[in-house]
Symmetry: C2
Subunit: 135 residues, 2 copies
Amino acid sequence: MRPYSQVIEQLRNAGLRPTRQRLALAKLLFENSPRHVTAETLHAEAQAASVPVSLATVYNTLHQFTDAGLLREVVIDPQRSHFDTTTTNHGHFYFEETGTLQDIPASDVVLAKMPSLPAGTKATSVEVVVRLSAN
Amino acid sequence: MRPYSQVIEQLRNAGLRPTRQRLALAKLLFENSPRHVTAETLHAEAQAASVPVSLATVYNTLHQFTDAGLLREVVIDPQRSHFDTTTTNHGHFYFEETGTLQDIPASDVVLAKMPSLPAGTKATSVEVVVRLSAN
DNA sequence: ATGGTACATTAGAAATGATATAAGATGTTG
DNA sequence: CAACATCTTATATCATTTCTAATGTACCAT
């Protein structure tokens, strides 16, 4: 059994070597997928799991995974970047008090129609963001 | 004719004095509304218009206007915050190459239904973001 | 397999850049 | 004029990026 053969394959396709750090972070990310992390929270998790990895490497890895299509960056928090293991278009709830994210079930977000795009452009993502505060 | 009576009124309602700087920034913002700015671009505009105002004041003013409901903060760019003179819920195109924003006509963004919210929360905004790259 | 070489990757520290804060100077209101 | 808000400049903060030396990895030839 080779639990990461798929991730390894995707890393190779992206020209990324399957290093110890990348595999450890991939394990944390995808073993409990779907989930959302920030560089800080993932770094803290790695430390807690006794995976020695520097914060700079966490940042690099998150961006490399994003470029490789394994993650999606979610820009929703003015303070920090979030990353999502679900890479298909979908919406998010953002809890303003806690700064955490939650996926909106795809069935709950239905765009009646796709807006017509400016000439010469193509859409790289379509996202619906609902900001929430305590009631 | 008092071109800013409305803005002055709204500032007063928010407990903000209509100072020279605030009125000058309001003029830049709302005279060519609807529009989008960042702290940097608005500061540069003020300088160009010979309105001496510090960058710190621009930041403060943008947030005060946002709290007063005159502006809306748009979180869409991992690098900086954008502010929009249109405060009602609406969508944005984000041009990844240039980092600029453009409103999506409201008629073009129609949510088939509002997602059901987690218990104990209320939505403070609903936004649709379409990221664009060159075709 | 083994050793070697080129190159990718990592870590830690330092740099960067947007934004926030502090303290003193200035403006505004009553 | 007194009380207080606002502005400015400089400084602080914090997330993120960059730099550089050390280390790891892949590929090649033996």
